[in-house]
Amino acid sequence: MFGYYLDLALRSLRRNQILTALMVLAIGLGIGASMTMMTVLHVMSADPIPDRSGQLFYPHLDPTPLDRRKNALAPDPTDNMTWPDAMALLAAHRGTRQAAMSGGNLVAHPEKVSANPFTIDGRYTTADFFAMFRLRFVAGHAWTATDDTARSRVVVLSEALSRTLFGTDDSAGRMVQLGEHTFRVIGVTAPWAPQPMFYADAAAHKFGESDQFFLPLATAVDLKLDTSGNVSSWKKFSGDLTASSVTWLQFWVQLDKPDQVAAYRRFLFDYSAQQKALGVYERPADSARLDSLRERLVTLHLVPDDLRLQSWLALGFLMVCMVNIVALLLAKFLRRSGEVSVRRALGAQRRDIFVQFGVESALIGLVGGGLGLLLAQLGLWGIRRRPDEYAQLAQMDTAMLLSTFALAVVASVLAGLLPAWRACHIAPALQLKTL
């Protein structure tokens, strides 16, 4: 029967080509706009570190005084951690792995005297960072906890930076001048750029290029290297980043099992309570919390307001297109009252008529989906030319490709429901008389 309905649908669509073209165009435009925006949202909310995301957690402590004024426009100071807290959590070693980190930028001086110095972005962090976030090394290795405590002057470079500075991937053991100081290259990492850059400060850019170098955090503090990201202080700021009233560090912990997560949450509460007992904290112990990676991504507010607005616009546009198609299909189906009545009189049930028109709507959806796919590719090409940092990610994967067609067919079948229902309730006798 399906083949027959398909044949009927094709004939009917061919009979009124202008109307068919209008409907296909409407659904194509609506689907194209919606899928462009949905693809962008899809890539922006992708899992940045798929094989580890379930095990990564972000502890929150609140060392701010009770009389701190909340400012909706300024960054939240409790989003980051103070140096003493981060060092205490590191030393406690309650997770499988844990690392404190901060963004930093330095001036790199290439070996060749003729080449100009240039600024590089990277991260000051602690030894577990590399194993926790699964960075691979193409040469050398990560530094150890001993290097952290000894404040060793070592650096891990990205493959790209190693090539720019030394012309080779294997620069382990070489010396490099960053800012005022000289560091020994201890390792070179394979390209690694999780999108979004979930582990960075809320003020950092989230998409695009990742870190070019990694330095031991204690070394960076020791040498007073420039940090990037929010630094919040609620007492007079003397420039000392190790003060207990300055938050600036991100802290990540890897917890493999659910009971480990519960234990860590308890540990955070206990730590917070202990700090309150000592008079360091003013807020109650339950102001501490442990965010999963997913929850952290929500806090980071990854989707810009403009993009959200554009997505709503696209969906609204799809709505307009659907209402349009409902009206056109209604006109088309009701016009075939005579045909429907003949089929009913010859023994077709209401259900059969309903399925017949459903097939016709789905066919329009399928063709419209094809057009929508083309338009979405055009839209994504337009987005990739925008200057936004997420623009380069705007590519369609197989899942989005299939869902384009699925959405198109579902939308057109939904649009066809009311017209088909009306058509199958035509009273045959009345229509047959007028034939």
Binding site: G30, F317, V323, A331
Partner: protein, 404 residues
């Protein structure tokens, strides 16, 4: 034209009528709000920076040691001044649209209780006030001994020039000259008001605070070095900037030239508003596509109705109706449907505006957008229905005698 027969005919096609009216309503709501969003963006793009954008450029150096700042300033100022066509070179901390603002919260009392917002401080060395081309509307221009050494990020106790927008915000309705404000301990006294002065980058308070800027005459030194304001005639500016960027490699080989910010102020402005321009373009595209789809819907439905009523049209023509009557009938019908849609659409437009206001920084939709939106949709409806209506008018009366 009689409306009653049209209405009773529409009652026979209730579902289709309601659907087209709904489509018009949705289009009306989106049209009004999208136009309003565009107008808002355009207003932001059009903002007056207060400086001679076409004659100014910035050079920004980083990566040098703080103790070398004094020496760097001397080398750059003398080195760049020799470039042919250069009108002036001065030290400044930032230029409008160039990023790296010096934001600080100010209070209008020494105790720090009367908070007056987060404002941007421009520190400018000798010559920069004139070079910027700021238009003074009250008070006097800075004199040589007004330039104070920078202590932290600004001089500790200085005379300042504020933008009119900031003066009206901090001291509404009173003469701002001589008024004082504080940033913790550092203390400032207003010596003049300039017509406009935009921030280097958007502030924490959103678009309405874009001109909350203060100009502090400052003496270049170790804490105040690295960014330079170049002035040349608009025709020569791009060449002068190119020469200056090339000269920096020789003048200051150890410093890093920030290429993204070492641009003319006009091109910094271009980059600054790129996102707003894209957004306005997208909104325009959405409006166009939606009007197109709505028009297509009207064309489709009207064509169908014309075909369906061929016989009735023929009968009306045979009974003496003119072509104009038939044309008028379909136009009236369309007018009525669109009017239903518009009434519903105005309510929707307001609901959508309220929703947008809770999520975005957006004022209330001005009422005059509604009649304009209505006029556009009425026009669109009449245009869309014209084709099918003309076809209906062309139906010959002889149709009535066939197949009856």
């Amino acid at each position: 034209m009689q409306i009653r027969p049209v209405l009773s005919a529409l009652r026979k096609h209730r579902v289709a009528t309601v659907l087209i009216a709904m489509e018009i309503a949705l289009a009306c709501a989106v049209l009004c709000n999208a136009c309003f969003l565009i107008a808002n963006r355009v207003q932001q793009i059009r903002i007056h920076s207060g400086v001679d954008e076409r004659a100014l450029a910035a050079i920004k150096l980083t990566g040098f040691d703080e103790k070398d700042g004094v020496d760097l300033n001397a080398r750059v100022l003398s080195g760049l001044a020799t470039i042919p066509g250069m009108r002036s070179v001065s030290v400044i901390n930032a230029v409008p649209f160039g990023g790296s603002p010096n934001n600080a919260g100010i209070t209008t009392d020494a105790a720090g209780k009367q908070f007056a917002g987060v404002v941007n401080f421009y520190t400018g060395g000798p010559g920069s006030f004139t070079a910027l081309g700021l238009r003074l509307i009250a008070g006097r221009a800075p004199q040589d001994d007004d330039y104070q050494p920078v202590v932290h990020f600004v001089p500790d106790d200085a005379l300042v020039w504020v933008s009119q927008s900031l003066a009206e915000h901090a001291w509404p309705g009173v003469d701002p000259i001589g008024k004082e404000f504080w940033v913790g301990r550092p203390h400032f006294r207003v010596a003049g008001v300039v017509a406009n002065l935009a921030r280097p980058s958007p502030g924490e308070g959103g678009p309405s605070t874009i001109e909350w800027s203060v100009f502090v005459p400052s003496q270049p030194g170790a804490h105040f070095a690295g960014t330079y304001l170049l002035r040349a005639s608009p025709e020569e500016l791009s060449r002068v900037l190119r020469d200056a960027r090339a000269a920096i490699a020789k003048i200051a080989p150890d410093a890093v030239l920030e290429t993204a910010t070492s641009q003319s102020v006009a091109s910094l402005r271009e980059t600054f508003f790129q996102q707003d321009r894209t957004m306005a373009g997208i909104l325009l595209g959405v409006i166009a596509a939606m009007l197109l789809v709505t028009a297509l819907g009207i064309v489709g439905l009207a064509s169908f109705w014309v075909q369906q009523r061929r016989r009735q049209i023929g009968i009306r023509r045979a009974l003496g109706a003119t072509r104009g009557d038939i044309l008028g009938y379909f136009q009236t019908e369309n007018f009525l449907i669109v009017t239903f849609g518009i009434v519903l659409g105005m309510l929707l437009a307001f609901a959508l505006n309220l929703l947008l206001m809770t999520h975005y920084e957006l004022p209330r939709l001005p009422l005059y957008y509604l009649p304009i939106g209505a006029l556009i949709l009425w026009g669109l409806g009449q245009l869309a229905v014209l084709g099918p209506a003309l076809r209906a008018a062309a139906v010959p009366p002889v149709v009535a005698t066939r197949s009856v």
